[in-house]
Amino acid sequence: MDTHVHDRRRFLALSAALAATPALTACGAGFGGDDSKSDGSAADDVTGSFDWKREKGTTVKALLNKHPYTDALIADLKSFTERTGIKVEYDVFPEDNYFDKLTVDLSSGRASYDVFMLGAYMVWQYGPPGWLEDLGPWMRNASATGSEWDQADFFPNLLQADQWSLKAGAPLGQGGQYALPWGWETNVVAYNTDVFKKLGLKPAETFDELRDIAGVIKRKAPGAGFDGMYGIAVRGSRSWATIHPGFMTMYARNGLKDFTVRDGKLTPAMNTPEAVAFTEDWAGMVKQGGPPSWTSYTWYQCSSDLGAKKAGMLFDADTAAYFQAVEGASPASGKIAFHPGPKGPDGSLATNMWIWSLGMNAKSKKKSASWLFLQWATGKEHLRRSAITHNHIDPVRRSIADDPAYKDKMKHLPGFIETFETVVDQTKIQFTPQAQFFDATTSWAAALQEIYGGKGAESVLGRLAGDLADKVG
C-alpha cells in the first residue's frame, strides 16, 4: 500500500470534513504521519569529500517565524547562496499562527517546506509521528558536514535539548538529534534601574524578596514619578507559553517537577503540597504586583510594558528585555539592567529555556541541500555575523558568546553578560519530555488563571493532575 497517497487522501478528506462540520472553520488537520521508520538515513547517500557546492542549482523551501533572528537570517541569505549555489525560498508567519501552520503542514505528510524553525518542545510533538529528520547521521557523516561546523562548539545543554529517544519521560540528550539549536533564551529578571534607584531597591535574591519588591513597586512607584507603573511583568494568557518562562524557572529553582517518572510511567506532580504552595505564592505575586488584565498577557505585552516603563521588572526571556533595552528601542532604553533572578531555597539557579531551533522535514526530497542550509545557518560564520551586526542573541555557540566583539556589543547592557554567564550552565529544559506537553501546559496555564481568580490552588491543581494523569500516564 502506498501510505503516502493514503495519508494524503486522509488529510484532504478530513480537512474537508472539518470545514463541512460547523467547527474548526479557520483551521485544518491532517493525518500524514506514519509509523514506518526507515532504518537507513539519506545522509548515508552522501559520500566523497565535503563540498558546499554539491547541491548547486537546488532550491530549498523554508518556513520561518517572524523574529529578529529570522531578520538576521534573511539579511544574510545571499552569502549562503553565493557559497553553495542553493537558492532559499521562504515564507514568514507571525508567531500567533506559525506553529498551527507548521503543524498542519507537517501532519499533511507533504514536503511543502524542507526546513523550518521550531522550539525544542515541538520535538516532543513532531518527533514521535516521524515528521522530523534525525540529523544525527548527517552530523556524523564527514562527507555531508564540513569540519569547520564544529559540533563541540555548541553549548552542550542546547544540543542535548533537541535530542530525544521519543519515549515519554525519557531524559533529553539521548536518541535522535531532531533539530539544531539556532538561537535561545534564558529566563531571568530584567528591571528598570531608575525605579530601583528611586525606591532604594536591590534585585531580589529570593522568591519572597521578589514578591515583596513587586508589591512595593506597584504601591510606591506611581507616587514616585513613575505613572501607572506596576511591579512585575510575567505572562498570564491561557497558553502553554505562560508556563515555560518565569513560572517554570522559579518552579524549578524551588526544586519542583512537573511530572515524576517511575518505570516509564509519568505522574503529574504539580499538585504536591510544595507545588501548591509555590503556585499560590506566584498567583499572589501577580495579584499584588502584576499587570492589570494579566490573563491576557503574552511575552509581547510583558516586553512592551518594560520598555514603556509600565513594568518595574520583567521575569521572562532575556531577549524580551534585550529588544527593549537596545539604544533607541523604547523609552526605557539605557535604564534596563539584568539579574539572574531569585535563587531557590537551596541556592539553585536552575533556569528553563526556550530554544529556537532549525529542523528538517522527514519527507523532504531535498535533504542534502537542506542539510547544507542547516549547517550554514547554525555555523560559526553566519551566527557570528548575526550576533554582532544584527540582534541574534543569545549565541548557541560558546565561541560567539566568548567573542570579544560580541561582548563589546553587549557590555553597555548592565548585567547582561554576567547574568548570562551565571545561569548558562544551569539552564536547561526543566520540563519532562512527553508528547502531551502542549495539552499539559495549556491546562496548567488555565489552572493558574483560576487560582489568580480566587479559586483554591489545592483543588484546582488536584483536578489538573487528575486530568493529566489520564492523558499521559
Binding site: A16, P22, P292, S293, A446
Partner: protein, 293 residues
C-alpha cells in the same frame, strides 16, 4: 423525444446532486473517522467505535464548554435582536441623519470579526485602553474587563454584539420597509397610539424577518471561534472555552484528531437541532404574519 423529456428532470438535478455529494462525502468521512483513535502519536489508528463520543460526554470539560457556548449564543443573539430591531425602528423614519447613519451602521460588518476582537482587546486593556480612559471620570477606570470569568464572557458577547447588531438591524429595516402601509394608515385614522401600533401591527408582521435574523445569529454564535479566541483564548481558566475552541485545541494544538472532530460533530448536531426547531417556529410565524397582513 419522449425519453429525452423524461430524462430532463434527472439531468437538471445533476449539478445539485454533485454539490450535495461534495458536501456530504467529506462530512460523512469525518463522521467515520470519529470512530477511530487518530492522533499524531497514533497515525495508524484502531477502530474504537463510539469511544470518542463516550469520552466527550463524560468529560466535565465538554459540559462546561457546552454551557458556555449556550450562554454565549443566547446572550449574543438576544441582545443583537433587541438592539438591531430598535436601531431599525429608529432608522425607519426617513431623515437625512437616518440615511447617513444607515451607511455608517454597516461599517462593523465590514471588519473581520477577529480584527474587531483585537481592536476591542486593545480598547478594553485596563491601563491603556480607551474604554477605561473614558470611564475614569465616573470612577470606573479600573475595570478589568477580561480578567474575571463573567467579565470575559460579557466582553466577548459585547464584541459580538458590536459586530453583528448591524446585520440584524439591516434585516429588520428591510422587513420594515416591505410592510404594507394600509394597516398602519387605518390604525392612524382610528387614532391608535405608537405603542399599540407597534405591538399589534409592526411586531407581528415584522416577526418573520426578526426570526430569520435570530436563526442566523443564534446558529452563528453557537459556532463562534474567532472573537473569543482573539479576545481571551478561552480564559480565564476555562470560562470562555466554547465548543469550537475546545475542538480546535484538541484537533490542532493537541493533535488528537479523531477526538477533536468528535467535538465538531457534536456541535454540528446541536446547531442542526437548534436550526430545526427555529425553522419550524419560523414557518408558524410566517403563516401568522401572512394572516395579519
Amino acid at each position: 423525444m419522449g425519453w429525452r423529456l423524461a430524462l430532463r428532470p434527472y439531468v437538471l438535478i445533476v449539478p445539485a446532486l454533485l454539490l450535495t455529494c461534495g458536501i456530504l462525502y467529506p462530512f460523512g468521512l469525518g463522521l467515520y473517522y470519529t470512530l477511530f483513535d487518530f492522533s499524531a502519536s497514533k497515525p495508524q489508528p484502531d477502530m474504537v467505535r463510539f469511544e470518542n463520543y463516550q469520552t466527550v460526554f463524560t468529560q466535565e470539560a465538554f459540559w462546561n464548554s457546552a454551557w458556555v457556548t449556550v450562554l454565549y449564543a443566547v446572550g449574543a443573539a438576544a441582545v443583537e435582536t433587541v438592539l438591531g430591531v430598535a436601531v431599525a425602528l429608529l432608522l425607519h423614519r426617513s431623515s437625512l441623519v437616518g440615511r447617513v447613519l444607515e451607511k455608517i451602521l454597516i461599517l462593523p460588518l465590514m471588519i473581520a470579526p477577529v480584527i474587531a476582537a483585537i481592536i476591542w482587546k486593545l480598547m478594553l486593556q485596563p491601563s491603556v485602553g480607551v474604554v477605561n480612559h473614558l470611564l475614569r471620570p465616573f470612577g470606573l477606570g479600573g475595570v478589568q474587563w477580561t480578567d474575571t470569568p463573567t467579565g470575559a464572557l460579557l466582553s466577548s458577547i459585547a464584541v459580538d454584539v458590536w459586530v453583528y447588531t448591524p446585520f440584524v438591524a439591516i434585516l429588520a429595516l428591510a422587513g420594515l420597509r416591505s410592510l404594507p402601509t394600509s394597516p398602519f394608515e387605518a390604525a392612524a385614522v382610528d387614532g391608535a397610539g405608537w405603542w399599540y401600533t407597534f405591538r399589534r401591527l409592526t411586531l407581528p408582521m415584522l416577526w418573520p424577518y426578526v426570526l430569520v435574523a435570530v436563526i442566523f445569529r443564534f446558529m452563528d454564535s453557537l459556532k463562534v471561534f474567532d472573537i473569543i479566541y482573539a479576545l481571551t483564548e478561552g480564559g480565564p481558566g476555562d470560562s470562555t472555552v466554547v465548543l469550537q475552541i475546545r475542538a480546535y485545541l484538541e484537533a490542532i494544538r493537541f493533535q488528537r484528531y479523531s477526538f477533536g472532530i468528535s467535538y465538531t460533530i457534536v456541535l454540528w448536531a446541536v446547531v442542526y437541532l437548534a436550526a430545526m426547531v427555529l425553522v419550524k417556529h419560523l414557518g408558524k410565524i410566517q403563516r401568522k404574519a401572512a394572516e395579519a397582513k
